[in-house]
């Protein structure tokens, strides 16, 4: 057993863990943070993405002991005072999910992307989330959601900007 001390979503935890315990297992099984999901088990899919000391990682490819002394942010730590994070809200507004399984990882990676590049082009968004697989959406609405969040998270962006305004029903002929 190894003693670890981590800050997860703003709270400090101390635990004895087996060295072989993966960070994703620790989050889910010890801390009950099941918002972070296990997808592929081969480090491909990115569903388990969390932030470790401010940088996105696949928590199935990090040992819990490697997170000792570190700060972890999961999808469960994004909400503030009952308000969704702008990226969560953008995924909701743009219907950027169908089954939703990839969503926690997609959102964590998209937030990381905007931290690096607050105003990414469509191509840069696609490359920024290349480590996250979605088998439902074809990525179109995910890219739209990230663009939407980027426009709202920009310094000075209007908080009243209408989300998804272009998604009106076509035609009618009247």
């Amino acid at each position: 057993m190894a003693r670890i001390r981590t800050t997860v979503d703003g709270l400090v935890y101390e635990d004895d863990v087996e060295p072989r315990m993966l960070l994703v297992q620790y989050l889910r099984e010890r801390l009950g943070k099941t918002g972070t999901v296990i997808g592929c088990d081969t480090s491909n899919c990115g569903a388990c993405t969390v932030h470790l000391d401010g940088l996105s990682v696949k928590s199935c490819s990090v040992l819990a002991v490697q997170a000792n002394g570190s700060e972890v942010l999961t999808i469960e730590g994004l909400e503030r005072d009952g308000q969704l994070h702008p990226m969560q809200q953008a995924f909701h507004d743009n219907h950027a999910l169908q089954c939703g399984y990839c969503t926690p990882g997609m959102i964590m990676q998209s937030i990381d992307l905007l931290g690096e590049n607050p105003d990414p082009s469509e191509q840069e968004i696609r490359e920024g989330i290349e480590g996250n697989l979605c088998r439902c959406t074809g990525y179109q609405n995910i890219v739209r959601a990230v663009q939407d969040a980027a426009s709202k998270m920009k310094p000075g962006a209007s908080p009243t900007a209408e989300a998804g305004a272009k998604q009106t029903v076509a035609g009618g002929g009247a």
């Binding site: 072989r20 315990m21 993966l22 088990d41 480090s43 470790l52 696949k58 199935c60 490697q66 990676q109």
Partner: protein
């Protein structure tokens, strides 16, 4: 899957790591960023009795200039390599190749030294290290020794790092002002290279005066495309000249055949990608 049980130590100096290797014997395994090792452990393709985590050794991290060299600590992350101004200025090729490794999450955690020591023939950093004549500093029970890139990569997943030793630094000569390009051909995003070409060239007044080219996944180890390099020197960097010289790219290679590509197709890719890489590097 969950890895098999192992003991875990986290040394804080290279000396302690060498001691841990000695104590751990044959069955100890070094953990760098873990982006290749953890998947292997989870698949139980390896079950070491001791994991020595190098993540707590500050002296193994960071980039510094030393005279005519740029020295990169083995535990410097891919992410830090891609953002480093000294490397951008003097060793652009390693930075260009590192930008293509896996995906952002893996680049945050994975390290230059870990990738080079893993020596996967489809890995992206060995070919540029070879093309750049990098020097590998290896620490062991008898102190440190330095191995040239040409001698470091011995075979599939096999390097000159011996029992009880660890890679501490990679030293690159400066290639200030050289153009650089890593052309990678893979099937889908974040997949391994089927073939890739690392090219860096020095262009003086439109004429290529020096060229260095390394090939990824064209043999069990990275390969220099020396025939192309010598054919390029003294040529003006036109598309015709470069494509003609690139026809020699597969000389001296022994590419594997697998589900992604046959050997002859890999040879074709080497020629095409070499042309593209050199043209982009010279542009």
């Amino acid at each position: 899957m969950i890895p098999a049980q192992f003991d875990y130590v986290r040394p804080t100096t290279v000396e302690e790591a060498v001691q841990a290797l000695r104590d751990g014997g044959d069955d100890a395994k070094l953990l760098a960023g873990g982006q290749s090792l953890l998947p292997v452990l989870r698949l139980r393709m390896a079950d070491p009795s001791l994991i020595i985590d190098l993540g707590g050794i500050p002296e193994l991290k960071g980039v510094r200039e030393e005279g005519n060299e740029v020295v990169v600590g083995a535990m410097t992350s891919h992410y830090d390599v891609t953002r480093d101004d000294t490397l951008r200025q003097h060793v652009a090729l390693i930075q260009e190749a590192t930008k293509t490794v896996a995906d952002p999450q893996v680049r945050h955690k994975g390290t230059l030294g870990g990738a080079l020591a893993h020596a996967d023939p489809a890995g992206d950093l060995a070919a540029p290290a070879l093309a750049l004549d990098a020097q590998f500093v290896i620490a062991g029970p008898n102190g440190t020794r330095t191995v040239a890139a040409a001698d470091f990569f011995e075979d599939y997943f096999t390097t000159a790092i011996g029992e009880g030793e660890l890679l501490t630094e990679i030293r690159f000569p400066k290639y200030t002002g050289w153009g650089a390009r890593y052309e990678k051909f893979n099937r889908v995003a974040q997949a391994w290279s089927i073939v890739a070409v690392a090219a860096t060239v020095k262009v003086d007044g439109g004429t290529i005066s020096e060229a260095r080219i390394g090939l990824t996944n064209m043999a069990g180890t990275p390969v220099r495309a020396r025939a192309v390099e010598s054919a390029l020197v003294g040529q003006s960097a036109t598309e015709d000249n470069v494509r003609k010289a690139a026809q020699a790219a597969a000389e001296g290679t022994s590419p594997t055949a697998d589900a992604d590509a046959g050997s002859d197709y890999r040879e074709h890719l080497a020629r095409v990608l070499t042309g593209r890489a050199v043209l982009a590097a010279a542009g």
